[in-house]
């Protein structure tokens, strides 16, 4: 018990001389300023990245949607394109060119949506990492 009190007393009186606080603070402030600079840089990059993704996303939807509308507006009995070759797979493609083009365009739109969502998640993860 007495020893416990002595240990407590020993630590109560523990007031060591520290190195110069001003120098310590200056060193710390320099590091924190660097962190802020990196954060600012990163915020600008994320902003630019987001803008680019948004532009690509909107362009993909508009272009894809327009293309899809054009394809659907063409007469159903006229093929969109012909190969001019009498090879059965090509003839099949020519006959179903409208549906195949619509399917490919839809896939392109879906891909642009998924890519935009992935990028959004990636940016969120970078933000949550601390910087």
């Amino acid at each position: 018990m007495n020893d416990d009190l002595n240990i407590q007393k020993l630590f109560d009186n523990y007031r060591p001389t520290l190195t110069d606080s001003e120098r310590f603070n200056q060193r710390l402030e320099r590091k924190l300023a660097l962190i802020d600079e990196i954060r600012r840089e990163q915020a600008v990059r994320i902003h630019r990245y987001r803008q680019a993704v948004l532009v690509a996303f909107v362009a993909g939807i508009v272009f894809g949607g327009g293309l899809l509308a054009c394809i659907l507006a063409t007469p159903a009995d006229t093929p969109l394109f012909t190969f001019g070759v009498s090879f059965s797979p090509f003839i099949f493609i020519e006959q179903n060119s409208r549906s195949i083009s619509a399917l490919l365009t839809s896939l392109m739109i879906a891909f642009s949506i998924v890519a935009a969502l992935n990028t959004h998640e990636l940016v969120s993860r970078i933000r949550n990492k601390g910087f």
Binding site: D3, N25, L32, A33
Partner: protein, 160 residues
């Protein structure tokens, strides 16, 4: 929170943190200062967590403890065992505050976890539950560390 606000908050706790780390590094000022700098940088990076946890300082000591443990681990990995074994007591003599030479020598003999528990308990006045939270251990484990550390300290300080 801005950098200036963070520095204001830290200034209140900074000396206490540095004293704690100085004891944890058994008087080696350079190492204690480096760990304190790393701790405060990490604290700045995780400010959002601090804001969620309110105004206590245990979070800062948790970062300090983890930083110290990481630093101790890497130091052991970098330094060959023979060097650690052969290290004499006056290795850091120039840095050591003469008044606390005996205390530092005794603290040096304690394993890092026991030393941390002892210092959080006696210097910072944290409860066993708070220490358990800081070091990420159970309350029973902290009680054992404290008891073992206390016994070793008593013996070592009596020998001096």
């Amino acid at each position: 929170m801005t950098r200036e606000q963070f520095i204001q908050i830290i200034q209140r706790e900074q000396e206490s943190l540095r004293r704690f780390l100085l004891a944890l590094c058994y008087g080696n000022q350079d190492e204690a200062d480096d760990i304190a700098q790393d701790t405060l940088v990490k604290a700045y990076l995780s400010l959002s967590k601090y804001e969620e946890r309110g105004k206590g300082t245990a979070w800062l000591y948790r970062i300090a403890y983890n930083t110290f443990i990481d630093w101790d681990r890497s130091r052991r990995a970098l330094q060959p065992l023979e060097v650690l074994a052969e290290r004499t007591d006056n290795t850091f003599a120039a840095d050591r505050d003469f008044r606390y030479q005996t205390l530092y020598m005794a603290l040096e003999e304690l394993p890092p976890k026991e030393r941390s528990a002892i210092l959080l308990f006696y210097i910072k006045g944290y409860t066993i539950r708070e220490i358990a939270d800081i070091v990420g251990a159970t309350e029973d484990a902290v009680k054992k560390q404290l008891s073992r550390g206390r016994d070793k300290l008593k013996t070592l300080l009596k020998d001096e």
